[in-house]
Amino acid sequence: MNTIPIIIDEKKLEVDPGKTILEVCRENEIEILTMCHLKGVLDIGACRLCLVEIEGINKLLSACTTKVAANMIIRTNTDRIKKYQRITTELFFAERNHVCAVCVANGKCELQDLGYKVGLDHIRYPHLFPQCEVDTSHPWYVMDHNRCIMCTRCVRVCNEVEGAHNWDVMNRGHQVRVISDFNSPWGESVTCTSCGKCLHACPTGAIWPKAIVQGQLQKNPGMINELVEKRKMKL
């Protein structure tokens, strides 16, 4: 296959066309922050953390949904991008009730890691402190909406990999919530297969197994892509 030349952060690369900027960056060890991206499921460009600058385009474009084109000049770590990454991270924390100290995912949380990466020391926006439910109706798992960042990784895994489509998103704007069936308790779901893939896909402590305390949580989001690849092989 013919390769095309592109430049990322002054680095000249020869890459396969058809790949996204994010894929190319990951292959070449150029760091791009992501939250809603999960290898193995469809990229939707929702979290806006992977924004990159492309010469000749005024807008910042999301690396996960933009394909590389010949002679693209891409920058991933300018001051403008860093500013937006910081804003996005602060808004994540301000939107729901994230309290790391009492969270089961403390130390194993992608949102927490993101906070460290962008050097989050304080949040400039007023917290919304919404009233969120904690759904403990499922026999094995818990869904805590306080810790959900609406990345919809669970929704996509459930739909694309498991094929159950137990999860979806209701309402709009700041009232959005991940729902099970007709916004009914997870334990009463008729579509859920209790496979637990959403738990591994969840980047925060929003979905976690019962009978687990802080420090014991093991999440393996890489498992999703392994599953997808194995299914393609049809061994």
Binding site: M170, D181, F182, T191
Partner: protein
Amino acid sequence: MKSETAVPVKDMPKTDPRMKLIAAKLKKESFKPDALIEILHTAQNAYGYLPKEVLSYITKALHLPPSRVYSTVTFYHFFSLKSKGEHTCLVCTGTACYVKGAQAILNEIERGLGLKAGQVTADNKLGVQVARCIGACGLAPAVVLDDEVQAKVTPEEIVQKINAKIGTL
């Protein structure tokens, strides 16, 4: 051909003409999942809102995940999960109507009927809603009473008309 027509509906009289309307629409759209919004439109128009039993009937007939249907219903303002009332009073609060006194109309409705925007009377006879702009700025302030546009209304006039509507039922 699949035989989805025979989806059983619990707690729903089979002779309900509104259910027949939905069943006919489902058949017309050949049970295609893509036609979800059109079918929801039919159901919303028939019932005035979307009861849960109707939603689960449509979900089963189209073979869609329940969460997808619920997501669609909550995304669009046209669809409603609660009854909007037998009679509806839609007060336009667009810029022109607002300047011409839409707030006074809402205040008068609240004073005279004890209803705020978005509420429905306990007997389900009247529901009051607001819209950002109904595109009738030349008629400001405009109110839509049961799909009938009332032009250049005064607060007293509209409460009188509402009372007449509720009274005649």
